[in-house]
Symmetry: C2
DNA sequence: CCAATATAGTTTGTAATACATACCAATTCA
DNA sequence: TGAATTGGTATGTATTACAAACTATATTGG
């Protein structure tokens, strides 16, 4: 069942939500872009650090998370490795596979980025009261949890 | 007052909201990117169409909305104009100024994109119940309204 | 009133990112 | 075991955005 087919939403209500999501996404991506560039990272590299923070992934799985082509990821990971943020480890079970994981330095960087992001997003977040912030977090987590491509 | 300084939020609660916003942004941008590329538009061109849907802007103001350099916008608008989606109009009050506005075709395209976006975002949206969707829309609108860079 | 300065936009050259294609090595399957 | 599949890399290309230099118009201070 699509959102529009659910009963009880006025015509246009879904569009307004969709619109608000899109606008919020652009504002948020603006913050993320600034955060990345202030740290000499590309947006995608930033994302890789965030993803690998609590996972070790093979190239193919990382590609799936990012929605990129594997040929793109080769260079991306190569640059991040050259900067000492990640390492490529040959997988002993399947010698074709390359596992990617954060270095200590990568973890430090990822932790700092997470901390700093709060500041960059503050204009958006702090315009909500505490209760609203909790409600928003709850709703977003719910939506993401049941979304396949999250 | 930053979000963290507000009383009554547990340590970490703001981080979780920030994290959820970032993840939601990536999922939403994924949908927007697919929507754009399915219509042979760049993400930024898509955004220009959305912005100009209810505004006529000069180049400089459009640059401010987009957060790009003006030199970037020149080519962007030139390509969109070549496709018949926008027109550049000399401003009679100040002959340095170029106003940009949607063509009829641009309006048709923008309307269709808005309609289609709902489908692309449905996996995210439809995982919420009606009441939750309304609540989310309300919260996002509130947050955006008081955000300077929206 | 005019010279100096500021503003609006374009042009040109360059760097970064992502894609497609072709390719190699290792694994699986029939 | 040979053929097909999978995991990843290398290479060439297109797109996007930026910076710096430039043109044209407008504004402002003397």
């Amino acid at each position: 069942m699509t959102a529009r087919e659910q009963e009880g939403n006025a015509i246009g209500a879904t569009d307004e939500l969709v619109d608000a999501l899109a606008q919020t996404a652009f504002v948020t991506m603006g913050a993320l872009t600034r955060l990345a560039s202030d740290n000499d990272l590309s947006l995608t590299q930033l994302r890789v650090l965030a993803i690998l923070r609590d996972r070790r992934l093979r190239m193919t799985d990382l590609v799936a998370y990012l929605g990129l082509e594997k040929s793109t990821l080769t260079g991306l990971v190569a640059r991040a490795e050259a900067r000492g943020l990640v390492v490529r480890v040959a997988n002993p079970d399947d010698r074709r596979v390359v596992d990617v994981t954060l270095t200590d330095e990568g973890h430090v960087m990822a932790a700092r980025l997470t901390k700093d992001l709060a500041g960059y997003l503050d204009p958006l977040v702090s315009s909500l009261k505490n209760g609203e912030q909790r409600a928003l977090r709850e709703l977003l987590v719910t939506a993401l949890r049941t979304t396949p491509t999250a």
